[in-house]
Symmetry: C2
């Protein structure tokens, strides 16, 4: 089976998990669940939950204990997209070729759907921790909480927002990439290894892998934003330029940015070598993500 078929299978499994956690309790909850599901099922590639589950699989056979956390990280990622797309932030009408949440449900419901997904992510992790190893669960939640909050993803988004239409340094661009994108990606693999009972050294190796992968992923995004076609990317081309955002590409140009993606991917691969053959799928996935044109 090639990587694309394998991924399609894994995406389907994650979608099924997500569906289990998104059922309204009463008529009053129907509209907000509709809005939450609209963005959850808007064609996400499920990179973070798949990374988490596959990092788990590197050390251990699949167990249900990882599922609540895989669901939670995708909910956190999705809420951040809903809020990012709002007129008060990036003001995007389309994402992955579909209308953004607020274009369909209005800004108020979009804000609340985002809030609800973030809150629900923690509810699901709490329940998962109560059902399984409480200490591991809490430690996993701690990682995800830190990486998604003001010291992680939200912190990156704040600086991204404050940097619009301003001259910023390459250090600031790096801060944004590290926090807005890489933080949640290395959280994914860290949590996978942690829940699988990984050692401190394994955790450290996997965290580094996630960091390099996350940075490469974001620079690749900047490159695609510059050269990508709207029908492929599903969002307005060059939306970074529209919002006058400094990116890695605007600092270093396309060629040097592509070199950087290759360099970071190589470092990511080196981290995976530590795990031997059991990391083969993660290697294929890394290659696939770096070669993507969408």
């Amino acid at each position: 089976m090639n990587i694309e078929s394998m991924l399609a299978n894994k995406i389907q499994k994650v979608d099924k998990l997500l569906k289990n956690y998104l059922t309204p309790n009463s008529e009053y909850e129907e509209k907000i669940y509709e809005a939450m599901k609209y963005s959850i099922f808007a064609g996400g590639k499920r990179i973070r939950p798949i990374l988490m589950i596959e990092a788990y699989n590197v050390l251990n056979n699949y167990e249900k204990a990882v599922e609540p956390f895989a669901v939670a990280i995708e909910m956190i990622h999705t809420y951040s997209l809903i809020h990012d797309d709002l007129p008060a932030m990036d003001d995007d009408d389309y994402r992955r070729g579909k209308l953004t949440n607020h274009k369909v449900y209005g800004d108020g419901i979009a804000i609340l759907a985002g809030d609800a997904l973030l809150n629900l992510a923690f509810e699901i992790m709490i329940e998962g921790s109560l059902q399984n190893d409480m200490k591991l669960g809490l430690q996993a939640m701690k990682i995800l909480g830190e990486r998604s909050g003001v010291h992680g993803m939200i912190g990156g988004q704040v600086i991204d927002l404050l940097s619009e239409n301003r001259e910023i340094s390459i250090e600031t661009v790096t801060y944004i990439h590290e926090h807005k994108t890489a933080a949640l990606i290395h959280a994914a693999v860290e949590v996978g290894v942690l829940l699988a009972g990984g050692t401190k050294e394994q955790l450290e190796k996997m965290k580094k892998f996630g960091y390099y992968l996350g940075m490469a992923f974001q620079i690749q995004d900047d490159i695609l934003d510059k050269i990508g076609k709207q029908e492929i990317l599903g969002k307005s081309i060059d939306s970074d330029e529209k919002n006058k955002k400094a990116t890695y590409v605007s600092f270093y140009g396309l060629e040097k940015s592509k070199e950087q993606v290759i360099l970071l991917s190589k470092k990511a691969f080196e981290c995976l070598n530590y795990f031997g053959e059991s990391a083969d799928f993660l290697k294929q996935l890394t290659k696939y993500l770096m070669d993507r044109n969408y």
Copy 2:
């Protein structure tokens, strides 16, 4: 010491706790922490953390284990106010006589400050749970998570938003009150009793107390919104009427609403009788909250 001085003391203690948890890690985090602190220290009465700590004190001597949860509930309450005040929601320029968060920092930062406070609330509870009894911590987080999420506060806010400019039933008004306001208030006292090692029966009694208090509190709010003066309430008078919101008062009129507040307070008192003298402060607080004119 009268109730007002006692409360002033307790508010000061909660403020000090909150301050400990609101220090930026780097220059990049300064702006978002400024926005978070602006709303956290905008004159909140700290009712929820005080209720939690006092419910704890009914059963047990004060211990630090309750502090992270008291801080977290105030952060959750504050984030909900920041998001509620946004133009996409209630569109309020003032709260407690001060400009609302988005009027000072802009809508984008206000959304992120809210997100950051919700996320931080969970981070703090996770750390608190790791440091103390993990099972009790997770159970407390479960209560708070449920009451603040789509089955609680957010769910209430959704129906509140969807009901603007529409005819709604008294059942729907009750749903909004129960979820938007009462849910977090009974969560406060439940968590207090839970962390103090309370029995199932004690938990049930305290939850009922919180429910009656929360409902009385919200109807009192509706009454004050109708008759209150802007300089006392610190928000535009009759903002419910501005947004064409159905309230308890618009259904039953002022007199019947006042009777209902008295009835609910009486029920709240009856629940507290179960705890004997150790609940004296909660009784005084209940009386004080029901007599308030702000």
